[in-house]
């Protein structure tokens, strides 16, 4: 098991200039990212859609590396996105998935079949050319360079500690520093993407 923040700190050393969608790791990532205009801390627009969003972005900006930190709850809800990612095969997409075994933001209830799921095997079966399953920080640190050095799409299942949140939604601290649309606009400006 890894702590999300510690894992992200190691990733951050290898980030380069990748566009990062921190997903469920967003509240940790915004505290450490040094390139916020290349970040898309979207929170949770609608559960299950992060992989598809990242796919669309990766297809749209093929010259930029796109890194997603998905969650196992999202992947379970949107598992049908994996074959599409594999078919379109964007070589610039790196699909990390945080697996804490629970729905952490609703109080920590287990996801279906939490103890038995092998998400890397699922991704491999869907056609991802490279998949990993990593359950400790040491292995993550030793493999991250290899993971990011190969063409995507790469899928990496990460076993992490649950950071369970039990407060009512309106009572939770707001970690997002800008709106979703502002984050997108900042990224577009950073990358010179013209709209319209």
């Amino acid at each position: 098991m890894m702590k999300t923040a510690e894992m992200l700190e190691i990733f951050n050393r290898h980030r380069g200039d990748a566009v990062v969608i921190p997903g469920r790791g967003g509240r940790f990532w915004v505290e450490m990212s040094e390139q916020p205009n290349r970040d898309l801390p979207l929170g949770d627009p609608a559960m299950g859609g992060h992989a598809s969003f990242a796919l669309g972005l990766a297809l749209a900006i093929p010259d930029q590396r796109v890194v997603l930190f998905d969650s196992e709850g999202d992947v379970l809800m949107g598992m049908g996105a994996l074959p599409t990612v594999a078919e379109k095969a964007p070589s610039n997409l790196y699909h990390f998935m945080l697996d804490n075994g629970v729905y952490a933001t609703t109080g920590g209830q287990p996801v279906p079949n939490a103890e038995q799921m092998e998400y890397d095997v699922v991704a491999q079966g869907c056609g991802y050319p490279a998949t990993y399953a990593i359950d400790n920080l040491e292995d993550f640190a030793s493999q991250i360079e290899e993971i990011l050095s190969q063409p995507g799409p790469v899928f990496v299942a990460l076993k992490i500690d649950p950071d369970i949140i039990n407060e009512p939604i309106n009572a939770r601290p707001q970690w997002q520093r800008k709106t979703r649309n502002q984050a997108v606009a900042d990224m577009q400006a950073e990358l010179g993407i013209s709209i319209g």
Binding site: L40, L42, D44, P45, A46, M47, G48, G49, H50, A51, S52, F53, A54, L55, G56, L57, A58, L59, A60, I61, G78, G80, A81, P83, T84, E87, K88, R180, N181, V184, M187, Q188, I193, S194, I195, G196
Partner: protein, 169 residues
Amino acid sequence: MAELSPARILAELKNNGATHVVWLPDSETNFLYVLMSEEPSIDLVPVSREGHAFSTAAGLAAGGKKPVILIQNTGMMESGDSLRGWGLGMNVPVVMMVGYRGWTRHGVITDTAAFYTERFLHAFNINYYLVESDEDADRISIAFAEAQREKRPVAILVGDEYHGFNVSR
């Protein structure tokens, strides 16, 4: 009534600068598939669940592309939360071409897919245009312009299943 020709629809998509068609096959827009797959200026992104179409389109739009969503009304209704969060929530200026399963202007609509379609769009405050034949096809350009201007999804309801109901027999 005249047919809705796939070539005319494809021409509308190209004229409006569509770069990607995010789609899940349906019987109302099946006729477009062959033409689209042979069109080099448009990249097809096949999804297995319509909700993924909205998040995929959001990512494409964030990256500066101009996606079109091509799904059936049944799948649109299944996609409610994705339409809310990714489509409307992220102000994605996307035209969603929706196969209007069950639609007929003759007699009584008996298919609940059609019965609820416009009610669903009203609930989400999505504007829409009905396209049944080539005579209506310029509405597609109207939808593109509106989506860009309003920065939100606009629907085209494609009322022409397999060219089935509006062809003279």
